[in-house]
């Protein structure tokens, strides 16, 4: 499993790179599912792996498809390594760590867009520049989508169009992405012609 390649898209769609070690007093790593492989690759690239591990804090949760590589991460020997059962239980720990963190902290996010986006949102809220957070996509491409009509967020959207899990409207999924909401935009597909809904296809796996 390597870095995910996405087709070209509009300019609001996030782009991802490959994690690389950078100097820092603390290496804060947030990952889910197959993002664990990006983390082991990252540490393999460290010029002084032992010293990087000594100042590394890993926060991990299994992916939306159930992939759980927490054992691989625990085996790395980082100063702190924590497995949260879900993204909603992971985020409070991240927020707590951010309160005391200082400049000189390096952020590494890896895994699915839902996890990367929500972690990025919380880091940005401190005033830290979003463009300086490293992100690598691995694993599932399911999307976190906000219904522009009811504002409800549906997690792990695989098909396009899909039914909003809150208001029930049939939504098509745009590439337009809000970093503040950590979500793609879903828009009603049959507003002008109620009931005329194209066949739903699996677009995000």
């Amino acid at each position: 499993m390597t870095k995910t390649e996405f087709p070209p898209a509009i300019k609001s769609r996030p782009v991802y790179g490959v994690l690389a070690p950078r100097p820092g007093a603390l290496h804060l790593i947030v990952a889910d599912g197959d993002g664990a492989a990006a983390v082991t690759d990252l540490l393999a690239k460290a010029s002084d792996r032992a010293s990087m591990l000594a100042s590394t804090h890993i926060i991990y949760t299994p992916g939306p498809d159930g992939t759980d590589r927490s054992a691989d991460l625990a085996a790395l020997g980082a100063a702190q390594c924590y497995r949260a059962p879900t993204i909603p239980t992971l985020l409070p720990r991240l927020q707590r760590v951010l309160i005391d963190a200082h400049m000189g902290t390096q952020f590494y996010l890896a895994g699915t867009e839902g996890l990367i986006g929500q972690a990025e949102r919380d880091i940005m809220a401190t005033g830290f520049p979003a463009t300086d957070i490293q992100k690598e996509h691995r694993g599932s491409t399911v999307r976190r989508v906000q219904c522009v009509h009811c504002k409800g967020i549906t997690e792990n959207v695989a098909t396009d169009p899909f039914k909003c899990s809150h208001c029930g409207l049939n939504l098509y999924v745009r590439d337009h992405y809000s970093r503040r909401l950590a979500a793609f935009q879903g828009v009603n597909i049959d507003a002008e012609d109620p009931g005329q809904i194209p066949q739903s296809v699996v677009k995000f796996k």
Binding site: V148, H149, L169, A191
Partner: protein, 356 residues
């Protein structure tokens, strides 16, 4: 719902009309003559098309920094209704408060200078006294002290000013849309787009990125100086005089696009013109976009022969990607058919003024 202001007068000048339900909005004959018709030639393609926002022809929408026209009071009532239904249409991220004060100062000073019969601003140091007679507002407050106004400064002043507004913070050689009052928009969501960079919030626009339009526009706007505002036009089409064509309510207004016929086209189809003015703000170094929406019924616009001819040609020949993005591809042929009755094939003069 209740209004927080008492409309003083629909007397003579300000029209009493609606932008919803029974849609009684229309332009007076004088209003049609001063309509900012956006096409200076018979075809249309994107361009950066910026010019200095200096005082233009007397009586035109360019005469004053912020145009106040016959629809002012009714538009402000419509805005209050939209905000009562959905307060998320006005948002300002916490670091944008100072930019909100900058905008409040710009608007109050401009309106008091340009329309002394309607607005007045007197200052005693930071103690300010603002009177807005058309809306029946009389407010004393302390400049730069949010606790002395009923809303934040940005919301307070844009509830009293026609047109949508967004405030862009400048950072990292980019403009970030970090505040907005967006209730008369051409189908984009402030709640979704707030916080985006210049390229990100324009991402859905087709063709223009490839032409480098946004690269050039951003470069230009980053150099925008206080004291030297600029303006440009944008346009789209709207069925019914509906100011609030928001994605949020698209399931409500989207179906109206299927209600058009040759019989009702002239009354129902509106050319929607955005006069966008851009200002560098002094204390915050932010950039304010004022996006003023003018609605003109097809049947009103064709009373000017030059505009009838030209509108027909523009609609007929527009690139289909643009017609789709502007939301009228499905009706384009019917619109062109209706307009063709007002195009005798004669040449049109350059520029947009009706009489030239």
């Amino acid at each position: 719902m209740s209004l927080d202001f008492k409309p003083g007068a629909f007397n003579g000048f300000f029209r009493d009309e609606t932008f919803r339900d029974d849609f009684t909005y229309r332009n007076s004959p004088e209003g049609i003559r001063r309509f900012p018709f956006p096409f200076d030639r018979d075809d249309y393609m994107y361009s950066v098309n910026m010019e200095p926002h200096t005082s233009g022809r007397k009586g035109s929408v360019f005469e004053h920094t912020f145009d106040v026209d016959e629809h002012y009071v009714s538009e402000m009532i419509d805005r209050a209704k939209v905000l009562a239904e959905d307060p998320l249409r006005c948002q300002s991220l916490p670091h944008m408060t100072l930019a909100g004060w900058d905008l409040l100062e710009l608007i109050m000073e401009s309106k008091a200078r340009d329309y002394p019969q309607w607005f007045s601003l007197t200052k005693d140091g930071n103690r300010w006294h603002w009177i807005n007679r058309p809306l029946g507002i009389d407010q004393t407050f302390t400049f730069l002290d949010e606790s002395t106004l009923p809303y934040g400064p940005f919301e307070y002043i844009t509830r009293q000013t026609q047109g949508d507004f967004s405030l862009q913070d400048e950072r990292d050689n980019d403009l970030w849309m970090d505040a907005g009052m967006i209730t008369s928009q051409a189908d984009w969501s402030l709640d979704f787009d707030i916080g985006m960079s210049f390229m990100e919030w324009h991402a859905p626009v087709p063709l223009a990125h490839e032409k480098g339009i946004f690269d050039r526009a951003l470069k230009f706007l980053l150099k925008l100086q206080h004291g030297a505002p600029v303006r440009r036009f944008n346009w789209t089409m709207t069925v019914n005089p509906l100011l609030d064509t928001a994605p949020e309510t698209y399931p409500k207004w989207g179906p109206t696009r299927t209600t058009l016929s040759q019989d009702n086209m002239g009354n129902k189809m509106h050319l929607r013109v955005e006069l966008q003015a851009l200002f560098r703000l002094p204390r915050s170094n932010a950039v304010a976009f004022s996006i003023r929406c003018y609605l003109g019924k097809f049947e009103e616009l064709v009373t000017v022969p030059k505009w009838g001819r030209r509108l027909h040609r523009v609609v007929r020949d527009l690139h289909p990607d643009l017609a789709a993005y502007k939301g009228f591809l499905r009706n384009r042929d019917a619109m062109a058919q209706w307009l063709s009755a007002y195009d005798d094939g004669k040449p049109t003069s350059p520029g947009w003024w009706p009489e030239d």
